[in-house]
Amino acid sequence: MAAITLEQVVKRFGRDEVIHGIDLRIAHDEFVVLVGPSGCGKSTTLRMIAGLEDLSDGTIRIGDQVVNDLPPRKRNLAMVFQNYALYPHMNVRQNLGFGLTIAGEPKEVVAERVQDTAALLGLSDLLDRLPAELSGGERQRVAMGRALVRRPEAFLFDEPLSNLDAKLRVQMRGEIKRLHTAVRTTIVYVTHDQVEAMTLADRIVVMQDGRIEQIGQPMTLFDHPVNTFVAGFIGTPPMNLIPARIAGDEIAFNDGQQIPLPDRFTALVTEGQSVIFGLRPDHLCPDKKQRETGTSLVEIPLKVHMIEPHGAEMLLHARLAGQPVLGKMYAPRPVAPGDQLTFQLALDKIHLFDAASGRSVTAR
């Protein structure tokens, strides 16, 4: 198991630069998730680590070794592909053992490691089946087994769960987390699903347009997004983002509504500054739940125009200063579209971003 270091890594396809010099240190045994919308360069980054794509510039190190010019087979990494990429003509046993056989391991060792891995993943009864005879979830497990069996320096996962149905995805997510705890190892995991990122990662790397927007532990990203992109990307439902302006001790919205500017921001903003006001739906509630937590609240009347019941809670669509906002009701009671409700807005939970740069005013 080894650390992986990326220094000023650049990737160009022809004249198009798709990765613009990224730096990333993945520690030994760490579970790092690269997340971002499609086309953000996360898969390309992973493929460069694997050696399936060349670097245009910069350095990638595995352990202490620079691997820029090392072919994939010499990097001792294992990769799980989105489409599983099983060898169709080999049964499960041969698929699992292929890497070891190629590496010239003795037959008994291969057989033993395949048995162990199959047992770990619940594949023992399927060893003689061909991939075509397996279900999606089983193929996924074989793909993971093929990676596990080789005991590589690190695992690379390229959107491994995106071809599974919702229920199986949750189940496999749990399985991957369990595996990481069981066989402590370095994992680099690519996904576009921020829920997967939040639930699995030790650290999340949020990418957009070939740049890293923010690196941090899941809750750090959730509580302290450095810019509007991360704020909108991490967390479901996404954070409400509404343009506003600083007016004295108040945050003034475009329609004239004002809320007090919390003290912690006073030194960070200037009079008249255009800002983006951010607040998660969890902290815009029309019921009493927030009051009990002892945060300072402001009341704000909003007209609800759509309701999304989620069982334990209810999402309320409303408008604030002409912008759509989401609120959350923790103790659902009958609400009809068109109702005017008094929402409690938690001042402690407000985020402010500079409107011009999109960066959080609290970020250094």
Binding site: A50, G51, L52, P72, R73, N83, Y87, I102, A103
Partner: protein, 315 residues
């Protein structure tokens, strides 16, 4: 007019058809095809089979009426010329198919890697298939001609040979020259089919193999080749039927000579049947030759089905 009188006035066929309307319709609709098959294939085959049981000579038409049972076939068993041609055809098939497979695979792999001008190369690759085999035969007859042929000219010019090599006169060399022509003409069949296979191949397993530690050769051996096998078997089946009936190139280049050294089954059959007018015997040979083709097709199809099963396809 009552319905019963209406029925009675119609022709018998129409009445029969109306009564069995639903049962007869499919047969009626199929009948043009069935009739064509009957007259074009089934009847000539039956006649040919019958003729193989007679001492039929085209110079004596009444000989078709003499039934001699299996005598033609029994004679074949002791006919050394026939068995020599049979074995030669078998060898010819084996060498041509294998060489064409290897060369076709090489061409397909190379063209698959080309990024610029690939379409043009694919078109150029198919040129040899555009010529009639008769013309290809003439072309190579001149190329391999011992006096005026390009090959001897080039060899002597380069100092690789000091005298004319009798390409089409020496038995072994002549067989080689015919093989060369056959392979030149038809390797692109393999190349096209295998290239189609390469295009259809998913890239993921190849990348998985790279990460799993495979060298390029190991990736090819363990991932690409198994995937291409069904395609190779399809091409081999097509080509085995093609090569087994080889006649035109041989007839033009050597006509089975010298002294029968390049005689293949169909040149022999044509000689016995048309030149020597012994149609009965020729028909018996032809049925034996068909057996060889059926055997090859059966063998290759079995392999094809097995390969497709393991590739996750359906039979």
């Amino acid at each position: 007019m009552s319905p019963s009188t209406d029925q009675e006035n119609l022709p018998a066929v129409t009445r029969l058809f109306r009564r069995h309307h639903s049962a007869l319709t499919p047969l009626l609709l199929l009948s043009p095809a069935l009739l064509i098959l009957l007259f074009v294939i089934a009847l000539p085959m039956a006649f040919s089979l019958y003729a193989s049981f007679t001492p039929y000579r085209m110079t004596r038409p009444d000989s078709i009426e003499t039934f001699i049972g299996l005598r033609n076939y029994i004679r074949l068993i002791g006919n050394d010329d026939f068995w020599a041609a049979f074995l030669r055809t078998l060898l010819f098939l084996a060498i041509a198919l294998n060489l064409e497979l290897i060369l076709g695979l090489g061409i397909a792999l190379l063209i698959d890697r080309v990024t610029l001008g690939q379409r043009l190369l694919r078109t150029i690759m198919m040129f040899p298939m555009m010529f009639s085999p008769i013309l290809v035969g003439f072309q190579f007859k001149f190329i391999f001609n011992d006096n005026i042929g390009v090959v001897n000219n080039a060899l002597q010019f380069l100092g690789l040979a000091d005298q004319a090599i009798p390409w089409l006169v020496d038995g072994t060399l002549a067989m080689g020259a015919i093989l060369f022509a056959e392979i030149w003409m038809s390797t692109s069949v393999f190349a096209i089919v295998l290239l189609a296979g390469l295009f259809a191949m998913p890239r993921d397993p190849l990348e998985a193999a790279k990460v799993d530690g495979c060298t390029p050769w190991q990736s090819f051996r363990h991932v690409t080749l198994p995937f291409l096998l069904p395609f190779a078997y399809i091409a081999m089946t097509i080509r085995s039927l093609d090569v087994a009936r080889a006649y035109d190139i041989v007839a033009i280049m050597t006509d089975g000579g010298p002294a029968g050294r390049t005689e293949l089954l169909w040149t022999l059959i044509a000689r016995v049947g048309f030149d020597n007018a012994r149609m009965g015997e020729a028909n018996a040979m032809a049925f034996m030759a068909s057996l060889l083709s059926i055997l090859f097709t059966w063998f290759l199809f079995t392999r094809l089905l097995a390969a497709r099963r393991t590739m996750g396809g359906v039979e």
